[in-house]
């Protein structure tokens, strides 16, 4: 029985539980709703929940544990060195699963019978070709061990499937019977149902923590593996980045960090004045009508996907900067450059800076402005000398947030900054960033046991720590600022 079918059966049983639960409760109260502890619908829900919750928990656990158990039993098909090494075992098991799936598909399409699949041998012609014929592409020819393991895997999977169905259904039925038996007009169905709802709500709220734990675990775990293969001193202090798939790579963070910082710096140079002045104009000068049109128009920028900005950098701005500035002045001949990426990220961040600045400027009390106007300051003097200094902490916080966004930006730098890891001062040179290298090391053909791939996790870790730190500081400053005027 497939998982999908199983879910359908559980749903049907739950419906049964709902109907019977409701009726039983009504019957025990002789149809008099006033006599019952809870409304009839709660007895129904109680019946349904008693079916669903235990059955689904059992099913979920089974689905998690089943592959682990089966894989353990298949280990004797492989030589000891494969079974020992985490990475090799993962790869071998992936092959086994893929071949097993291929056989399933072949049977489903009628290209093989069940028995043919079971007695299939590698010496009877290429298994890879036969599977390719049914649309299952395999990376390499199937070895006898993998094929045998795959066949064994299928046997286990069939048995496991039967066991899974029986157990889940038993639990569902048990829940159903329990739910029905306990139902009576005096049973506090509503309280029980509400308890379950509360538990589910509380469980959902932990998703944020689980996500963070997932992020930290994946970053830390793989980074540690990276540092067992590559010395951490070299990662943090080496000044060169030149991955090399024969081994002996130089994987120094410095050039990537420099590119990241340089580009983010350029982006702030662009976003800060433009965003700030837009905010000032909108908050202090614009009429309500102008404001109601211009503010959303600027916010449109924030709604455009970054890949669009990336294409703009690649196709329009990059070549423009190269042809108009870099080449005439002899500063460079590459369309991808720190300038290209920095300017485009800056543009992307304008609405962000502007709306944060707008918030903090509006938080400065009107009394402060009146005080300034009252002794004959002009509007710009009031803004420059009173409003901005008062809003400064908030603005600084906003800039830090913008900086953090620039550091974490991926698509624009991937498309507009270049791939060359350099420690250079010329902003018209192509340089690269942490995020660009995360993408390039993790896309395409990757093996998860080489330092060249795993370095991406160490880079991700660096990025995470960097942006998180900036955010925490920025949010702290902004919060302190807000409190000051509350």
């Amino acid at each position: 029985m497939s998982v999908f079918l199983l879910l359908v059966v559980i749903a049907v049983l739950a419906l049964v539980g709902f109907v019977i639960g409701r009726q039983r409760a009504l019957a025990s109260a002789k149809g008099n709703v006033k006599d019952m502890h809870s409304l009839p619908v709660y007895y129904g829900w109680h019946g349904a929940l008693m079916v669903m919750v235990p059955a689904l928990i059992v099913l979920a656990l089974w689905l998690v544990i089943q592959p682990l158990v089966i894989e353990r039993q298949l280990l004797n098909y492989f030589p000891a060195d494969v079974a020992e090494s985490d990475a090799a075992r993962t790869l071998a098991m992936a092959d086994v699963r893929r071949v097993a799936e291929g056989l399933d598909i072949a049977i489903a399409q009628g290209a093989m019978t069940e028995t043919q699949a079971e007695v299939l041998r590698t010496d009877a012609g290429s298994v890879r070709d036969r599977l390719a014929a049914v649309g299952v592409a395999l990376g390499a020819e199937v070895t006898p061990q993998v094929l045998a393991a795959a066949q064994e895997y299928r046997n286990h999977a069939v048995i496991a499937g039967i066991g899974r169905s029986i157990l889940t259904l038993l639990v569902a039925l048990a829940g159903l019977i329990y739910g029905i038996r306990i139902t009576h007009k005096d049973f506090r169905a509503r309280n029980r149902v509400e308890q379950v709802i509360m538990a589910l709500l509380a469980l959902s709220s932990t998703i944020a923590i689980l996500t963070t734990v997932g992020i930290v675990l994946s970053l830390v775990g793989e980074s540690l593996r990276f540092f067992t293969m590559y010395p951490w001193q070299d990662f943090f202090f080496s000044l060169t980045w030149s991955p090399n798939f024969q081994g002996d790579s130089d994987l120094g963070l410095a050039p990537l960090l420099w590119g990241t910082i340089y580009i983010s710096f350029v982006s702030i140079i662009v976003a800060a004045p433009i965003g700030l002045f837009s905010a000032i104009y909108l908050a202090e000068y614009a009429s309500p009508r102008v404001r109601s049109v211009v503010k959303p128009a600027i916010e449109v920028i924030a709604g455009i996907p970054t890949v669009v900005f990336g294409l703009f950098a690649l196709v329009t701005l990059g070549p423009m900067l190269r042809d108009w500035i870099a080449e005439p002045t002899g500063l460079g001949n590459s369309g991808s450059s720190v300038m290209t990426a920095g300017i485009v990220i800056g543009i992307l961040n304008i609405p962000f800076v502007s709306s944060l600045a707008d918030d903090v400027i509006n938080a400065v009390p009107q009394a402060m402005r009146d005080g300034s106007y009252g002794i004959g300051a002009t509007k710009s003097e009031t803004i420059r000398l009173v409003v901005l200094p008062a809003a400064l902490p908030g603005i600084v916080g906003g800039m830090l947030l913008a900086l953090s966004r620039a550091i974490g930006e991926t698509m624009i730098v991937t498309m507009g900054a270049g791939a060359a890891a350099k420690l250079d001062l010329n902003p018209f040179e192509a340089m690269t960033t942490i995020t660009v290298k995360i993408v390039s090391q993790l896309t395409g053909d990757t093996e998860f046991d080489s330092p060249e791939t795993l370095v991406a996790f160490a880079l991700g870790m660096t990025l995470f720590v960097l942006t998180l730190g900036l955010n925490v500081i920025a949010l702290y400053i902004v919060r302190k600022y807000r409190e000051q005027y509350e």
Partner: protein, 264 residues
């Protein structure tokens, strides 16, 4: 508290400000209705009246602070030394240097005490050197009766002072630009009685140099500090005259009822 009015008489009878037929509208709300008034030089003039009657609105007309309120519209003429301040050629910024303002709630800038006072002279380019600026700051603080309390911590933030000190700082800030008129909108309503007494004493002293207009909701305060009183009611200037006369012998029945506490 001694009665200050007895000690100082009105020194001049020259008009500083003459308002003629002033009307103010907030959108369609007619807030000030055809007000005529002459405000004397070197005199404290008090505006009294029930809340919402337009005292602040009229006060804010005198230095065109209403220009900062988008919905406000002012009609009529207000002459400051015979020049119409609503003349299109007048720059309200330049006007406000001559007609300074102090607000209900003390609103020092989040800067040092020194910079708070130096703010006006700096923007109006009143000084050429640091020494001159120091001198103005000191004089203004002395004039605002704050010097002795803050002279040792001029670099400390203005917002760190007590409420009464903050209000005197705001007064010092306003007089540092050497205005001719000082407008004060309920300058004591956010202060405790002791601070109020200090500020009231200060207001009386300021009269030697400035024409002071003060809005107050406290009749006692008006009686204590002012020589002229104007009573506003529902946007009308009901009665205007010598403070003693207004309080002891009001001509208009509405003034009479207000003074005796029947309109509130």
């Amino acid at each position: 508290m001694k009665d200050l009015r007895v000690e100082r008489d009105v020194q001049t009878e020259t008009n500083k400000i003459e308002a003629r037929g002033v009307q103010v509208f907030y959108g369609t709300n007619h807030a000030i209705k055809d007000v005529d008034v002459n405000i004397l030089d070197k005199t404290v003039t008090a505006f009294i009246g029930p809340s919402g009657c337009g005292k602040s609105t009229f006060l804010r007309c005198l230095n065109r602070m209403n220009d900062t309120v988008a919905s406000a519209r002012v009609e009529g003429k207000i002459l400051l030394e015979n020049e119409d301040i609503y003349d299109p050629r007048v720059d309200p910024v330049q006007l406000r240097a001559k007609v300074g303002m102090v607000f209900q709630k003390p609103n020092p800038f989040p800067k040092s005490i020194y910079d708070n006072v130096a703010y006006g002279p700096r923007i109006h380019g009143l000084t050429r050197s640091k020494a001159e600026l120091d001198e103005i700051v000191e004089k203004s603080l002395r004039r605002a009766a704050l010097w002795n309390e803050v002279k040792d911590r001029l670099a400390a933030g203005g917002t760190g002072l007590s409420g009464g000190q903050q209000q005197r700082l705001c007064i010092a800030r306003a007089i540092a630009t050497s205005p001719e008129v000082l407008l004060m909108d309920e300058p004591c309503s956010a202060l405790d009685p002791i601070a109020t007494a200090q500020v009231e004493e200060l207001i009386d002293e300021l009269r030697t140099d400035y024409s002071v207009v003060i809005v107050t909701h406290s009749m006692q305060q008006a009686a204590r500090v002012s020589q002229r009183t104007a009573f506003f009611h529902l946007g009308n200037l009901v009665e205007y005259g010598e403070t003693g006369q207004i309080f002891t012998n009001p001509k208009d029945p509405r003034t009479e009822s207000y003074i005796s506490g029947r309109i509130g």
